[in-house]
Structure formats: C-alpha cells, structure tokens
C-alpha cells in the first residue's frame, strides 16, 4: 500500500495555517473561512480514501491488519535509539484520521456561521488549522518522541484557542490554567519517554509494541531494573499515562477542562470534546501491548481505576452544574473515563480484547455525538446569548433543528438504541463485566447518571419553563445547522459500524455480537435516568430543588466541583508558593543576589572615597610621583641589597 499521500493529510492544514497566519491582514474574512473549509475538506477526503484503501483493499493480510510505516531518521543517537519523523498507518491511526478530519471539517463549517463578524475571524481559522495539523500529526506519529512533539503542539493550539477572547480576563486565566496543568502532566510524560529510551533503547512504537507470535508477551528486552517494587518500565508507563491523564482531563488533573469552556464553542466541540482530550486514550491504546504485558498489566489496572473514578466523579459534578457548556465538559470527562476504563479492563488476544475495541468504538461514537452536543449548545448560546440554564427554556418552538439534533445526541450519549452510544457503551460494559464487576457497576451507575444529567440539560433548554426572551431566539443559519444535521446522522449510523471487524487489540478481526441481557440492563438504567429527568425537568416544578435540598451538603460539594480548584489553589498558593517558593526567593534575594550586589556596592563606596586622589591638581600628581620615586629608590638602596 502506497501511503505517502497520507502525508498530505496533516500538511494541508499546516499550509492553510501558514497562509492564513502570514496574510492575516490581507485576506478577507469571508475568503479565509472558505480557505479553511476547503483545506480541511481535502484532508477529510484523503482520510476517507485512506480508510477505504486500508480497511477494504490493502490493510488486511491473512486476516491481520498490517502496519505501514514511512519515516526518516531525524536525530540519531545509537543504532536502535533514534528519533524519527514519519507516518504510521494502522487501524487506530486510520480511525483517528477519520474522527479528526470529520469533526474538524464540521467545526470549520460551523465556525463560519458562529464566528461571523468576529474581529479575529481569520486568526480563528488559522488556529483551527494549526490545531488540525497538530492533532493529525499526533495521530500519525511513529514513535514516542514524535507523538510528544505534536502533543505539545496541540497543547499550544488549545492554549491559543481557549484564550481566543484575550480581552476577557477569565478566558486568559483559563488558557493559562489549561496550559500549565497539561504541561505539568507532560513533564511526567517526558520523563516516561526518557526512561523508555534509556531502558528499552528505542522510541519506536513498532519495536516497543512487538508481540511474540503466540501473542503472550513482548519481544522487546529492556534492561530490567526495579524501583520501589515496580519495574522501571511500569514506572515509565505510569508516567506516560500521567501525560495522557493530563490531556484527557482524568482525575486529579481534570481541573483545566471546565475552565477551558471559556473558549469559543466550536473550539470546545473540536478540541475539548472530540479530539484533543481523547489523545490520552489514544496514547494508551497506542502503547496497549506494553501496558498489557509489562508486569501483568499493573499500569493498565491503574488506568482502569483512574478512568472509572473520573467517570463517576465527573458525572456527579455534571448533575449540579448550571452552565450548559460545563455540564458538557464534565460529561466529556466522564465519557473519557469510560474509554480509559474500557482500555483498562481489556485483554490482548482475540475476543478477550473487546475492551480495547469498545474503547476505540466509544471514542469514535463519542466524538460524533459530543461534538454534536457542543455545537448544539453553541447554537443555543448563539440564540440566547447566555451560557446558563436559567436563561433558557422552551426553546423547542424557536429552534426546531437544534432541538431535534440535540435530542438525538442526548439519546446517543444516554445509550438508547439504536443510537451510536448504545452500541459502544454496551461493549464497554460487557468488557468490564467480564474482568471486574466493581468497575462494571460503577460504569452502569455512571450510565444512569449520564442519561439523567443529559436529559436535565435537554429538558432545561428546550422544554421546562416558558422563558420570555427580549429578542425572540431564532434558528441558526444553514452553515451552523448543516454540521448539526451531519453529525446527527453520524450519531445515528456510527453505532452500526462493525467495529470489531476493523479495530482490535491484536489487529485480528473478530465478529462482535450484542450481549442482550447486558444491553437490556444498560438500556434500562439509561431509561430510568431519562424518566427521572422527565419527571424533574419536563415541566417547571420544585421537585429538583427539594431533592437537592435533601442532599444538602453533598449537593453543595458537587456544585463546587468538590472544591478541587480550591484544593489546588491551597496546595499551590499556600503551600508551594508561600512555604517553599517564597523562602527560596527570599534566600535568593538576600544571600545570592546580596553577595553580588554587595560586591558592586562596596566597589562604588570605595571608589567614592578614593576618587579625591584624582584632584586635577598637577602638583599633587607630581608630589605622588616624586614620593613614589623616593620610596622605590630607598627600597632599592637599603632593602634590596
């Protein structure tokens, strides 16, 4: 399979970014929108073509999906240890190409309507293209270091786009927070990469992930060494997962994601729902054989528990939030937790690898319906100019298309058949049930919560009280409704893709089948959540308020996101800044700087004192000179001999 054309998939957005970035002032806003959409359309078309070629024509040899790599050595350290630049084509990277280009294209189209009349229109499209380039590069990376480079690039684009409304203080703070938190996590990632480089002697994914023919262990021999009872490679994997957790907003590095909602809504849909935040899942999936085989999957267990806890934690917070974008942000976090959980409970071989498949499946479907939810929320915000549920209600009469598409997305995320979320969520629950019942029940409970808070949102926006609007809200323009309709279509059909035929842990296709009792339980839980939401929020009533009052303390905690922002502030400000940094800064000022400045000051003082010697009186100089001569003469006459 000739894969060199795939190189153009990331390079076209890069070219668009450079074009729009450099000729920012010259290009008319309307034109820049078209350029952005055009560039992404070409990329998307190439991705679809690549997927068709890979999955249906050339990818499968003897039932096993092959990996195609094209790369050049960029930096050479030793024979095995070198940093390459290239593209790697295997099932998950092709799948991610589809996800990224599809959602990105939809968001580009949507932004043409949403951002209309904004001052930084061209800049916005330039940043979107930069992000698309980085994300596609990340997806196609052939080795840990390349993925790290693009990892940071998506971080930068995310920073730029969250802080897009740079005149708003809160947006600037949110951008900084997102960047610093993820950067902190990436520090762990970098250390993990370096440990892998040192002990395993290679960064290359294929070498790292190579599994022996029986499928029972890794081929790679690393210099074994242990630290605190775990092998160093496990530590490396945990540190790499820390990087992934930071990007994917897993507990306890999740604090940046809700604040990231300060960015424009299309950005939230693209970066903070569909693509960048699943990079952590993608990273774990990319290194899955390592996670699974190294030390009996210790690191993978951690992934599972972190994922499960995050999904529960976020779902509880999502119940109480009133900013619709924040509800969606916590929902994203919860769903990503789901994906992590699925990866964590997966095995490697054949059908036992259903968790891996389910995770990727859920990543795919979630990208579609969560992007749809965000874009729908953006459409609502566009109409009512507010982010808060209290300013909404009864919008179904004004915005029929948004209403229908939002409902489809909500049904999809709630796991109602036949929408996409049902199929992927079902697979996740099956995988969890087979491996770890505790995680299964957590997953099931979260599924119920998800259905509840999503329909609370839906009823709150489109039904509920009849709000009187100053300006009657109206349906969004076609450029915004088209992406909604397209993604709604995807949310309906994506579930019918036989994912197990395409993406599996050991790259051998197997036939997936629906587990009916399992599915019935999951759907039942989801329906209970929906019905509860129906009772609470369909019509305006005080049930919800009475209920939240009954929970009192717990409700208050959840509403304040369990005070995690405050805890972080306390740790960073009160402990690190005041107790550690401030004394060190004081020491630096007083002693280190003090010494240096003291030397300078003393020199000045002494100079001040002796400058009188240069009096400008010729005779003084002569006097000094003569006395000097006399002294030297005396020394030579009486002492030297």
């Amino acid at each position: 399979m000739n894969i060199s054309y795939i190189l153009f998939i990331p390079l076209i957005p890069l070219a668009v970014f450079l074009l729009l970035g450099i000729f920012n002032q010259q290009i008319k806003p309307a034109v820049s929108g078209y350029i952005g959409v055009l560039g992404l359309s070409i990329s998307a078309a190439l991705s679809y073509y690549a997927a068709y070629q890979y999955f249906f024509l050339f990818g499968k040899v003897d039932g096993v999906y092959q990996t195609f790599v094209e790369k050049t050595v960029w930096m050479n350290f030793t024979d095995t240890l070198h940093i390459d630049m290239g593209i790697l084509i295997d099932p998950i990277s092709v799948m991610m190409l589809i996800v990224v280009t599809t959602v990105s294209l939809m968001v580009h189209i949507y932004s043409r309507g949403y951002m209309k009349g904004d001052d930084g229109y061209t800049k916005f499209f330039a940043f979107l293209s930069l992000f698309s380039f980085s994300m596609l590069g990340l997806v196609l990376a052939t080795n840990l270091f390349q993925i790290y480079i693009f990892w940071e690039l998506v971080g930068v684009s995310s920073y730029l786009l969250i802080g897009y409304y740079y005149t708003k203080t809160s947006a600037v703070a949110a951008a900084k927070k997102a960047f610093i938190v993820t950067r902190f996590a990436d520090f762990g990632f970098l250390i993990g990469i370096l440990i892998v480089g040192y002990y395993a002697g290679t960064f290359d994914f294929q070498t790292l992930n190579a599994v022996n023919p029986e499928g029972e262990g890794l081929l790679l021999n690393w210099a074994s060494s242990s630290f605190m009872g775990l092998s160093v490679i496990t530590w490396a994997l945990l540190l790499i997962f820390m990087g992934g957790a930071g990007k994917s907003a897993m507990f306890p590095l999740h604090i940046w994601l809700p604040d990231a909602m300060e960015g424009p809504t299309p950005v939230s849909a693209l970066i903070h729902a569909a693509t960048m935040v699943v990079a952590g899942v993608y990273l774990v999936a990319r290194l899955f054989p390592m996670y699974y085989f190294v030390e009996g999957g210790f690191a993978l267990n951690i992934v599972a528990y972190v994922g499960a806890f995050s999904s529960l934690f976020a779902a509880i917070i999502a119940l109480t939030q009133t900013d619709i974008k924040r509800v969606l942000a916590f929902s994203t976090m919860s769903q990503i937790g789901y994906m992590m959980l699925a990866l964590g409970v997966s095995s490697y071989k054949g059908e036992e690898g259903v968790g891996y498949m389910a995770s990727m499946f859920h990543l795919f479907t979630h990208a579609m319906f969560k992007a749809l939810l965000f874009l729908g929320a953006g459409s609502v915000i566009h109409a009512v100019h507010s982010n808060y549920l209290k300013d909404m209600g009864g919008l179904r009469k004004y915005m029929p298309i948004t209403n229908i598409t939002f409902l489809i997305a909500a049904l999809a995320i709630a796991g109602v058949p036949p929408f996409a979320g049902f199929w992927s969520k079902d697979e996740i629950l099956v995988a969890a049930f087979e491996k770890n019942q505790l995680l299964y029940f957590v997953g099931l409970f979260v599924a119920g919560l998800t259905a509840f808070y999503m329909f609370r949102l839906y009823f709150g926006i489109f039904w509920g009280k009849d709000t009187q609007y100053k300006h009657a809200p109206h349906e969004s323009p076609i450029s915004m409704t088209f992406p909604l309709l397209f993604l709604a279509f995807m949310s309906i059909v994506a579930g019918f893709i036989p994912f197990s035929e395409f993406v599996t842990a050991d790259k051998v296709a197997f036939e997936g089948h629906l587990n009916y009792p399992m599915a019935a339980v999951a759907v039942g839980t989801g329906l209970v959540g929906i019905i509860l939401a129906w009772i609470f929020y369909k019509k305006e009533n005080d049930l919800a308020e009475r209920f939240s009052n009954a929970f009192g303390m717990l409700y208050k905690w959840a509403f304040h996101k369990f005070y995690f922002d405050e805890i972080y502030m306390f740790v960073t400000k009160k402990i690190i800044f005041d107790r550690v940094s401030a004394p060190i800064a004081k020491f630096d000022k007083k002693y280190v700087d003090g010494t240096m400045e003291g030397i300078g000051n003393k020199t000045v003082i002494i100079s001040e004192k002796i400058k009188g010697l240069q009096s400008g009186r010729l005779q003084d100089y002569a006097m000094f000179f003569v006395s000097g001569v006399v002294v030297v003469a005396l020394v030579f006459i009486y002492l030297w001999t």
Binding site: Q614, S615, G616, R617, Q619, M623, V626
Partner: protein, 105 residues
C-alpha cells in the same frame, strides 16, 4: 677632566639644582614659575650628560650632543607651554595653579 673639580662636586651641584627644580615644581603656585622650575630640572640633567661624557668617555661626544638635543627640545616645549598658559589666561584670566583644577574625576 676639569682641573680641580671632582665629578662628585658637579653631581652635588646638579642634584641640588634638580631638587630645587622638583621643589619648585611642587610648591609654586604660578604656572610660569612651575615652567621655570621645569627648566631647572632639565638643565640639571643636561649638565649631568655633559659631565658624565667628559669624565667617563672623553673621546666621544654623544653626551654633549644629547645635552644640545635636550636644550632644543626644552625650547620647543617651553614655547608650547607658554602658548598653553596664554590660552589658559585668555580663558580664565589667571595663571594660578589652583584655578586649573577643573580636570578632575
């Protein structure tokens, strides 16, 4: 060789002359006086050249030439110094040393 006078006596004379010049150079308050003192120093060294030549190497004349050279240079130097002093006088209407202390730090 000069009959009846030893080299030490002449050295004593030139030393006295030299230190009178140094003393004058350091203590005089008038620029012209300083210039005169300078001439004394130069003369003392010129005499030394001649005398040393005469007493130690009577068959060559370098020392004598050197003293003539010194006199010539001293003349040029004096002309220069007087020119400077006159210019200074035009500027500050004074030839006192204490009035020329502006060239410091």
């Amino acid at each position: 060789m000069i009959a009846g006078i030893s080299i030490y006596e002449i050295f004593t004379l030139t030393s006295i002359l030299f230190f009178i010049g140094i003393y004058g150079f350091i203590t005089r308050k008038n620029l012209i006086s300083i210039l005169i003192s300078l001439e004394l120093i130069l003369n003392a060294s010129a005499i030394n050249f001649v005398v040393i030549n005469k007493y130690l190497y009577p068959d060559v004349l370098q020392g004598v030439f050197f003293s003539i050279f010194i006199i010539a240079v001293a003349a040029a130097e004096t002309a220069l110094a007087v020119a400077i002093i006159i210019n200074l006088y035009r500027q500050i209407s004074s030839v006192e040393v204490k009035d020329t202390e502006i060239m410091k730090y």
